[in-house]
């Protein structure tokens, strides 16, 4: 489950991953920080999810997930001091959700984007450009890495999202990063997101046998990826 710790609490510990010659910080929040390039990457924010569900005639969920997710993101930006941000797709639950976003949330996002090199990567939920500032890309190359929404078989040094991986430890299921020699998959950063168990064939066929799962939560924890 994403950390809901109150603001102002001492920042919990990240896991440092050495990946294609670079050191990456896998943060307990589910964000990835690349100190050498002062770059923060997050995936699957699913902003506006409760609005979309209501619009489709579903239930009226507590309409606070956009606020909660932005608080998390704001805090990661503040703690890391990142000046480059990559959102790895499915940032909005759909394009109408991006347009229908509350004015307060929109202003908040604009404030976060201001002065930063901000890239929205296209996801399956938000396939078009979003009228909210930042660059829009299908994928982004920042050598040695390629950032995209959905992992592609056979790729090297690839960083992606999409699957919302999660794994279980001590009877508790938590969102997790998955990492092997050639790819890194980020957990969903959005507060209202479910997960796909890491031992699902969709993930076990994608990742190498010796892959690791890095669990989010209060503190990043590393375990062998469950098969």
């Amino acid at each position: 489950m994403p950390s809901n710790a109150p603001l102002g609490q001492k920042a919990p510990m990240h896991h440092a991953l050495f990946f294609h010659g670079e050191t990456l910080h896998l943060r307990p929040s589910g964000a990835l920080y690349w100190p050498a390039r002062r770059t923060l990457a997050v995936s699957d924010l699913h902003l506006g999810k409760s609005e979309r569900i209501a619009r489709k005639g579903g239930t009226l969920l507590p309409p606070y997930e956009t606020q909660a997710t932005l608080e998390k993101l704001d805090r990661d930006l503040e703690v890391t001091g990142a000046d480059t941000v990559i959102c790895l797709g499915d940032s909005f639950d759909d394009l109408a959700a991006a347009e229908g976003i509350a004015e307060s949330a929109r202003l908040w996002l604009i404030r976060l984007i201001a002065g930063k090199d901000w890239t929205w990567i296209t996801g399956n939920h938000d396939p078009g450009p979003i009228d909210i500032g930042g660059n829009h890309r299908a994928e982004l190359s920042l050598p040695p890495f390629t950032f995209r929404h959905i992992a592609e078989p056979g790729e090297k040094a690839e960083i992606s999202g999409h699957y919302h991986p999660k794994a279980r430890l001590s009877g508790q299921s938590r969102p997790c990063f998955l990492a092997d020699a050639s790819r890194l998959i980020l957990p969903a950063f959005g507060v209202y997101t479910g997960g796909l168990r890491a031992h699902d064939p969709a993930l076990t066929t994608l990742m190498a046998k010796d892959a690791l799962a890095i669990l989010t939560g209060h503190k990043s924890l590393v375990i062998p990826m469950p098969h």
């Binding site: 579903g58 969920l61 606070y64 430890l169 796909l196 503190k219």
Partner: protein, 795 residues
Amino acid sequence: MVTLPPALSDWFTAKGWSLHPHQLDMLARAADPATLLIAPTGGGKTLAGFLPTLSELNTNPPPGLHTLYISPLKALTADIRRNLGHPIEGAGLKIRVEDRTGDTSYTQRRRQRADPPHILLTTPESLALLLSYEDAPRIFAGLQRVIVDEIHALAESKRGDQLTLQLARLQSLNPQLRRIGLSATVENPPALARFLAPQTTILQADPGPDPDISMLDTEAPPPWSGGGGRYAIPAILNEINRHRTTLIFHNTRAQAELFFHDLWLQNTDDLPIGIHHGSLSREQRERVEAAMTVGALRAVVCTGSLDLGIDWGDVDLVIQVGAPKNVKRLVQRIGRANHRYNAPSKALLVPANRFEVVECQAALDAVRAHTLDGEPRGPGPRDVLCQHILATACAGPFDAGELFTEIVTSGPYATLTKAEFDACLDFVATGGYALKAYDRWQRLKLTNGKWHLRDPRAAALIRQNLGTIIDTETLKVRLRGHATPLGEIEESFAATLTPGDTFLIGGQIVRYETLREMTVEVSKSPGRDPKVAVFNGTKFATSTLLTDRILQIFQQVSWPDLPVHTAWWLAKQREVSRLPDPASLLLESFPHDNREHLVVYGFAGRNAQQTLGLLLTKQMESQGLAPLGFVATDYATLIWGLDPVTDPAPLFDLETLRDGLETWLSGNAVMKRTFRDTALISGLIERSHQGRRKSGRQATFSSDILYDTLRRYDPDHLLLQITREEALRGLIDFSRIEHLLSRIGTNIDLRRLPGVTPLAAPLFFEPGRIPVQGEGRDRLASAQAQALMEAAGLT
């Protein structure tokens, strides 16, 4: 007085049947707006309920729905259809009887809506669905009677609360509607009568002779602690041999499984014995039921799954293993033996441990004194009301004032205020959030003074989510290479299994192999001890009536009624320390095994004693007494730690306990679980359907996230209020802590003793010890992660 159609009375005469007095009384009262019939099992209760209907319909009734029969069990509706068929066909009456449950085919259900039978047999859930259709007024036009069977069982759950709202709806559609409730013995008939309808006549049938009930004599005394009663298996086998058919009730499914396994190993005579509980597959349960019906079984090991319903006929002995916890349920269980009116039922109690001997004695005394326990249920839960409002909107636009007027005619909601109703309506319509976010996408809209669904297409999904029964997520268990499942286990239990683990299901030990889709694959594993058998058998707390009686037994000078071993044990306690009494709270403090121990003999029932353990250790922690853990039973909480308690009074201050409760409650797992149920019932979240779970992958997320979000951003939200109310009523049971404190006043008797006392000793063997931890959880997880990495050679 209404009389039977001649064809029917002729048929009764030809069969040599004569009606019981209470059956005739039902005919005499046919014109009353509501009647509650309380009769023992085997008294022809169901027929009594239908007699007014049969006489009104007579030989050749016009088409249209006349009587609605509602039962808590699907199986019961099929049974009743068969039983009712005999007199109707025998007497040549042209009456159509059909059942309608979740198992009824789609075409059949469609046809029933277009052309309803004279008598429709259904469940509260199927009725909720029927009432949510736009053509409900047409379907129920002309409905004359509604019969609620096993109403005592329904009245104890949210299913019953929902049903009373539906009855109010039916009454609005048909003001002339008459209601009949059929009940087993209950402690408070007027309360049940009010539950059925505002003006209800109570009809008490002759209760029949007192049951023949006693404690089972065994050669070996029961063990000091633990459950299951396996020590008594030889004596129980002997009883099975001496009777035609025996039902052996257990309090939990896990205990039933363990007992059945051992019973089978000692069953040298190869008596045909079956097992029946809610975690077994339907096929397996139906096989046991069929074998019972033809008399092919000598005994069935079972749980509450056999508390209601099907008439087994030939059962001549009921054995209750483990303390009954609740006298009313015991009496109803005993009624399962000997379904012939006017013959005494025979029952044996088997205490599972030494303390339960006293509890069984208390239960025997209560049964003989005809006292029954039961806590008043409190006002109708508001999550059920929210669902009802949503379902009402599915049927068509409604006026809020009219709906409120209708709802307060229902017994459980009689005290509902307009403000409470409005808050529920607001939740259903807008979500009821402090942040107004859904102006454009409200679920209900107000047009020309009437509330209606904003998007009528939503009705289909809402209908799929009707009902108040919350299923725990379960996985099917299947033997490798076999098609038929053995049963089901909870997902949370399955998640703890690793390949090679063994567990008991359906009386056999199986080995966990793999998890495939939604099925747990296992192989047979003969002759090994099972690792675990965990099912969510409800842990009932012992009722206040029983704990009060136990305290009274303790006050006796000697105990001639108790077995010698137990009387000796109590005398020993009196010698070493003293026995607890109703007017004070006994605390024992003693060192043992390098730890300080405190025993709190609160007699408040398991749930409240557990809550007390959590609250007390929290305070001891803040006082620097370094508590390390605790364990709770129905009568005491044992706390261990590094320092002794010397000044107990501040620990038991009601206000301090209440404050502690507030802080502790919010982050608690019990609250999250309760929230999930409330969110499902009130319509905030939808049930996850198996098919969708398989393909939906990332789509669903845990209700815990919603709980945390609401707590943080909208702490006064209606659903959090309901969750709190529910948790306090249920698993936390704070009311019994309050009851305890008012019972003892300031009389706290702390005894410092040199070592473990006789009454405290069994607590040391009690399972379910709860460690007290500050930040231990993270450390534990870190250590485990480290171990996994090392095992994988990755460090």
